[in-house]
């Protein structure tokens, strides 16, 4: 009896206290009592998809495992990003950082790149996709070239309009790049679907670069970064050209009547 009496006023005062709290503080107290709550799963689908579009394909796809809420979310993504190498945290602007060092490429090589391309090509061939944008980054490794070709080709066939490919690499990869260069400029039919092409530190002759650029018939944006031998850019539809190189010499020729944005800079920032 006496313990009942003691408890009751305390209970009343606590209720009163709670009622006086501003609404949002009350909310956060409840949260603390229940332990940390899952804020992210409560967001609407379109926001979660916006978040998933900001991560690489592997992370996006693996969210299937989080919980039922996440199981099929990523399948509605409009854009996928597949890469041969993992990037530093700010990788959206990595392209302005210049070529990656071979140490960086080696220690950040992604082993699932080729399996992910094969999976992607199979999936896209089924045609049940909302995908509008595909971006690919590969180190120019000849062993990945066929899978890249097939993924880009299938995406183009299925009507993915916005396709971007970046080829990155340096020094030790030169030999492989040379192999790759042959396969890309002659066999790589997927290039005709590209809207964006990024070439970083590849050893390509003036002619090879010209042939490659010309074969990208839908190209809108071209990035040439640390491409020491490239001299001429000739393309009727090109709208954006970014040309960065560390040791400029000689004259450049640009013949691109549709060009709207040109960024030529001798300053290629070193990648840390």
């Amino acid at each position: 009896m006496s313990s009942e009496k003691e408890r009751s006023p305390a209970g009343v005062s606590e209720v009163y206290h709670e009622m006086k709290r501003p609404h949002n503080l009350q909310h956060s107290k409840k949260q603390r009592d229940r332990g940390p709550i899952d804020r992210i799963s409560a967001l609407p689908d379109e926001i979660l998809l916006g978040i998933l579009e900001g991560v690489d394909a592997k992370t996006a796809v693996s969210t299937s495992l989080l919980s039922r809420r996440w199981r099929h979310l990523w399948t509605s993504l409009h854009s996928l990003h597949l890469s041969d190498v993992s990037f530093p945290a700010n990788y959206r602007s990595w392209i302005r950082l210049g070529p990656m060092s071979k140490e960086y490429l080696k220690s950040n090589k992604i082993t699932h790149f080729v399996p992910s391309l094969r999976w992607f090509a199979r999936r896209i061939k089924k045609g049940d996709t909302d995908l509008m944008r595909l971006s690919l980054v590969f180190s120019g490794d000849a062993r990945s070239a066929a899978a890249v070709n097939s993924a880009v080709g299938s995406a183009a066939v299925q009507g993915v309009k916005d396709i971007a490919v970046a080829v990155v690499g340096k020094t030790e990869y030169n030999l492989r790049l040379n192999n790759c260069k042959i396969s890309v400029s002659l066999v790589f039919e997927g290039f005709s679907a590209l809207r964006t092409l990024v070439l970083v530190a590849m050893r390509m002759s003036v002619t090879d670069t010209e042939v490659l650029v010309r074969s990208c018939r839908s190209l809108k944006s071209l990035y040439l970064i640390d491409m020491v031998d490239a001299r001429v850019v000739k393309h009727p539809g090109l709208e954006e050209l970014v040309w960065l190189w560390p040791h400029p010499y000689g004259a450049l020729t640009i013949d691109a009547p549709a060009l709207r944005s040109l960024d030529i800079d001798a300053q290629v920032l070193a990648m840390s």
Binding site: P22, H23, G35, I40, D56, S86, S93, R96, R118, A164
Partner: protein
């Protein structure tokens, strides 16, 4: 009659003064008032732009019952900072860069702005930005959440965001097999 007329005139004057003001006053769910640049509010929020254009802005504080004071303070802070910031040359050129996402790279101050937020404050701000139709702020906050996810395993993501795994063992195994490549260890 005369009194009524006088009141009407006063209201007219007040309305004119309100239209001339270059700030609007917003009121949080818990009754706190915040002043925000009218120009920035109209530019950054489709909902506020609609309210300003439609004349439903209250001089004594427009009620935003869905937004707590902490989140509203961040919203207002963001708008006012945005009003004062001039887009940098770097941003202009990076806006056409090789993006992996449909939205544009946050500026340095925007990065810092979201970096200092607590976990709950970040999500409160996402919800507020969504409610107010603030596309840019939504991009900046979602970009932060993407960074928190990037490169993490499902287990790590669950831990960061307190997500409860409600699958059975069999279901987990089924998904793992379906998407085997995504679960390779690098």
């Amino acid at each position: 009659m005369e009194v009524d007329k006088g009141k009407g005139e006063a209201e007219e004057t007040r309305k004119v003064a309100e239209a001339d003001r270059d700030t609007v006053t917003l009121k949080s769910s818990d009754g706190k008032l915040f002043e925000v640049s009218k120009e920035a509010a109209a530019r950054l929020s489709t909902v506020l732009a609609g309210m300003i254009a439609g004349g439903s802005i209250d001089d004594n504080g427009t009620d935003l019952k869905q937004i707590g004071s902490e989140a509203l303070e961040n919203v207002v802070d963001y708008c006012n900072k945005h009003a004062n910031s001039i887009p940098s040359a770097a941003l202009i050129s990076s806006s056409i860069s090789f993006n992996t996402a449909p939205f544009k790279e946050p500026e340095e101050w925007e990065r810092k702005f979201v970096d200092r937020l607590s976990h709950d404050a970040l999500f409160d701000l996402v919800e507020a930005a969504n409610f107010l139709g603030m596309e840019r702020l939504l991009d900046v906050t979602c970009h932060k959440i993407s960074e928190m996810m990037k490169g993490k395993s499902p287990d790590q993501i669950r831990e960061v965001f307190n997500i409860k795994n409600d699958y059975t063992k069999e279901e987990l195994e089924e998904i793992r097999q379906e998407l085997a490549w995504a679960f390779y260890d690098d």
